[in-house]
């Protein structure tokens, strides 16, 4: 085992996800404390463009496992490929983004290699030579500090917790890894709903969400307009999703997405504990609600007591004026 940190890059059709570059940031801090180098890995099929983007992120090396068998997602194949790269790279720590993909691939790979895994962390540091991770549990009602009893270990880090590094460094060397894969038994055969918005809810810098207070599917129009103006993603409470006003993929909360944007605007959302579980680590929270006693105001940095159908369009107009 080396003292190196390996970050597992993640992408979609449009390119690498921002979280990949955030992982480099976290890895650099850990590598400085452990005295190792930061390396990255890209896995998939036809991922040359992802590798090209990653090599400029200030890494010591980028492993590329590019194999036709890694086209459609198949958990067994991805875990298999990654385990082969890890055996070659011998890192002390492997970092993933705590996305659905990252959580799934990390768990399968950790079991394959018999490593520990700490999921969905919001901070990582080295203390007396040991890796200590901070992670919310009980939907954010408590914060745990977890120590890896030994290295190597795998960790997934929540998106948006640290800024991404700039990808403007001299290109790192690429090491192509020829992986041997078996035919997977479970695999994706079709994608039925593509991520709709340009901005992925989990990674968005700004999220504007509507709840039962929007009163119907049309009520999401002013919420969507504000999200568009701000270049943000559209979120929703479970009440709005359960009512069928908006697709489940927008749900924020314990049984939906966990988001930590720099700005979260909740309109017509009361602030139930299960909703807060998905957004309470947002940097700035704005609540718009006509009930001054709504619990959402307790965690909001800025609150407006009023009708969202008046406040949202007005806010949209004011923000447009700011240019």
């Amino acid at each position: 085992m080396s003292n190196n940190i390996l970050i597992v890059a993640e992408g979609r059709a449009e390119g690498l996800k921002k979280v990949s570059f955030e992982l480099v940031n976290t890895a650099q801090q850990l590598a400085a404390a452990l005295g190792g180098a930061v390396e990255g890995v890209v896995i998939g099929s036809n991922v040359g463009a992802w590798a090209e983007a990653l090599v400029k992120a200030g890494l010591a090396k980028v492993y590329v496992a590019d194999d036709a068998g890694l086209g459609a997602f198949a958990p067994e194949s991805f875990a298999d490929a990654l385990a082969q790269v890890i055996k070659l790279a011998q890192p002390a720590i492997v970092l993933f983004g705590a996305t659905g993909w990252g959580k799934e691939v990390s768990a399968r790979t950790a079991a394959k290699l018999d490593w520990g895994l700490v999921t969905d962390c919001i901070a990582a540091h080295v203390e007396n030579g040991a890796l200590v991770l901070t992670r919310p549990i009980y939907s954010g009602k408590a914060i745990a500090q977890v120590r890896a009893k030994s290295l190597p270990v795998m960790v997934s880090i929540r998106p948006n917790i640290v800024p991404p590094v700039e990808a403007n460094n001299p290109a790192a060397p690429i090491e192509k890894v020829a992986v041997t894969l078996k035919e997977p038994r479970a695999k994706v055969v079709e994608t039925v709903v593509k991520a709709k918005s340009k901005v992925d809810l989990g990674e968005a810098n700004i999220v504007v969400s509507g709840g039962r207070g929007v009163k119907g599917p049309e009520g999401f129009a002013p919420v969507q307009e504000l999200a568009d103006t701000l270049g943000g993603a559209l979120g929703a409470s479970r009440a709005a999703v359960d009512a069928g006003w908006i697709d489940y993929t927008h749900q924020v909360g314990q049984t939906g997405k966990t988001v930590a944007p720099k700005l979260y605007i909740a309109a017509g959302i009361s602030g139930a504990i299960q909703h807060l579980a998905g957004m309470s680590s947002s940097k700035v929270i704005v609540a718009i609600n006509k009930d001054p006693d709504a619990p959402i105001f307790k965690i909001a940095d800025y609150g407006v007591v009023g009708d969202l159908f008046q406040v949202l369009p007005a806010l949209n107009g004011e923000i447009k004026k700011l240019g």
């Binding site: 997602f73 958990p75 067994e76 659905g100 799934e104 990390s106 768990a107 399968r108 950790a110 079991a111 018999d114 490593w115 520990g116 895994l117 969905d120 992670r135 919310p136 549990i137 408590a142 914060i143 977890v146 120590r147 009893k149 270990v153 997977p184 038994r185 479970a186 695999k187 994706v188 055969v189 994608t191 039925v192 709903v193 593509k194 991520a195 992925d200 809810l201 989990g202 489940y248 993929t249 049984t255 720099k262 700005l263 299960q274 309470s280 929270i285 105001f297 800025y302 609150g303 407006v304 007591v305 009023g306 009708d307 008046q310 406040v311 007005a314 806010l315 923000i319 004026k321 700011l322």
Partner: protein, 263 residues
């Protein structure tokens, strides 16, 4: 095409619970414990499949002695029998050792599929079922919202929801599936179900029954340990912006731009 289905159920505090911490642990006295809600969706799917196709639902719960009460809830809604893995020697581990314990139990139960929750709502690891699949060399499908077995009962077609996308996944059986909200509404126990649950068998298994090496599980086998548990940092008190919609919106935009600097 009857199905033997095992459902992995964890006992968790109800999500409305107020969490009190003492000595770096959660105070469990007075907490209302429930079946972990995601795993409950899996249980519901298992019950429906057996109602349609025949077979048997076995609930498996690894947890302390007083979790029996929670196991009865699974029997009350229709699980046929339950295995309670209970042994202090197995406690205090991590997701890896939990998976090892559950995998050891699954080796002793014939099954066509295993259902579990996408993640437990207390510790939120989202790794135990996937690890179980790998340990048993089985395929898995995560975050399932629709499920259809193939006509021959040897494969299944699932829709899963991950990172804002919906994919169709196919897998051979046996396999491990994790349930996501949207898979279906869960049923409530009837009085008859609750009474009937008292007569259904719950079998206790300990480390010896599972034939696992104590060094591989519990505290000894864990790769990660808890250092500290703290309440979340309090957020500084917020500002309520006064005035009518126009005035408040204008001031809010200014504050977000100039004070918070987020837009």
């Amino acid at each position: 095409m009857a199905f033997n289905i095992v459902v992995l159920l964890k006992r968790v505090p109800d999500t409305e619970s107020k969490i009190t911490l003492r000595d770096n642990a959660v105070v469990t006295d007075g907490l209302n414990f429930v079946l972990d809600p995601y795993a409950e969706y899996g249980l519901e799917k298992a019950l429906q499949l057996v109602e349609q196709h025949g077979g048997k639902v076995t609930a498996v719960l690894f947890g302390p002695e007083d979790a029996k009460e929670t196991i009865r809830k699974a029997l009350a809604v229709g699980a046929d029998e339950a295995i309670h893995i209970v042994d202090p020697a197995l406690e205090g581990g991590d997701a890896g050792t939990t998976a090892r314990v559950l995998a050891a139990a699954l080796k002793k139960i014939p099954f066509d599929m295993v259902w579990a929750g996408k993640q437990a709502v207390d510790d939120d690891n989202a790794q135990v079922p996937v690890r179980v699949a790998e340990l048993l060399d089985l395929p898995h499908v995560n975050s399932v919202i629709e499920f259809e077995p193939a006509a021959d009962g040897k494969a299944a077609r699932c829709v899963r929801e991950v990172d804002g996308e919906r994919d169709v996944m196919v897998t051979s059986l046996p396999a491990v599936f994790t349930a996501q909200q949207g898979l279906g509404e869960v049923r409530y126990p009837s009085l008859k179900g609750i009474m009937g649950a008292k007569k259904k068998p719950i079998t206790d298994w300990n480390a010896a029954a599972l034939g696992i090496d104590p060094a591989q599980v519990g505290k000894a086998g864990a790769r990660v340990e808890i250092l500290k548990l703290e309440p979340p940092p309090a957020r500084p008190p917020g500002k309520i912006i006064p005035g009518d919609a126009e005035t408040a919106a204008k001031e809010l935009a200014r504050l977000l731009h100039e004070e918070a600097k987020v837009i």
